[in-house]
């Protein structure tokens, strides 16, 4: 009975807690009823953090490996070699890269907000497949 009443909400729980307090401490059933709704909140936070870390790691590694030796990097190194001021070229290209990734992420979240999760997963999968094919194409066309 106490377990059933647990997910009603914080206000309901605090009410039962207040009601139970004047009673004797023999009513130990109240402790799990209070502890239960807290459990998912506590368990959710590290899991979400870990998943964010995984997302960060996958994104970083795949994009880093894909962009090594890509045309952007080649144009950056050409410009820095021609101008003899690599830091200015780096700052300029860094600003551009931050802007394009920010635009990409904002666009992605914006699109994801207007489609169903199923459609988002499908189209994201197709896009990643296309990227993979583009990379393979790069590998086989560059000798």
């Amino acid at each position: 009975m106490k377990l059933d009443s647990a997910p009603l909400g914080i206000s309901g729980i605090s009410q039962t807690e207040i009601e139970l307090q004047p009673k004797d401490s023999t009513d130990f059933n109240s402790t799990p009823a209070i502890a239960l709704p807290l459990q998912p909140v506590v368990a959710d936070s590290p899991q979400k953090q870990q998943s964010a870390l995984i997302v960060f790691g996958t994104t970083f590694v795949t994009i880093f490996l894909a962009e090594i030796g890509d045309k952007t990097q080649l144009s950056t190194l050409l410009m820095s070699a021609e101008s003899h001021s690599p830091w200015v070229v780096f700052i300029g290209s860094a600003a551009a890269l931050i802007t394009t990734s920010l635009l990409g992420v904002l666009l992605g979240s914006w699109i994801a907000g207007r489609l169903s999760p199923k459609t988002v997963e499908k189209s994201a999968g197709v896009m990643l497949l296309v990227i993979s094919l583009m990379l393979f194409w790069d590998i086989f066309t560059s000798h």
């Binding site: 997302v55 795949t62 952007t72 070699a81 994201a124």
Partner: protein, 100 residues
């Protein structure tokens, strides 16, 4: 500070990256993930590192690193991510929102 060079490098890189694979990857990954911030930091960090390597090492990057092999690894990685989304979609993954 050479503002002309700064603007030139910004515009060159911006135009060459617009709609390129890393931006497409950022769109795809942020769309299916609950933490677009992590995708942004991952993508921006990776791009900054490649551009830092490009600016500092100059032409040595292509000779020092097996770029084709690295690209192949990245291609396989993207293919795995795509396959996970397209084929194993029924499994409730850790970062999918429609898990009951």
């Amino acid at each position: 500070m050479d503002w002309h060079l700064l603007g030139l490098s910004f515009i060159t890189v911006f135009l060459s990256e617009l709609g390129d694979k890393s931006q497409l990857a950022a769109i795809a990954l942020s769309g299916r993930s609950n933490s677009p911030r992590a995708v942004f930091f991952g993508a921006a960090g990776a791009l900054l590192l490649t551009s830092l390597l490009g600016a500092l090492a100059g032409g040595a990057v292509a000779e020092l690193l097996p770029t084709r092999l690295l690209k192949a690894i990245a291609a396989v990685g993207f293919a795995i991510l795509a396959a996970r989304l397209l084929l194993f979609n029924n499994e409730p993954s850790a970062d999918s929102e429609q898990t009951p």
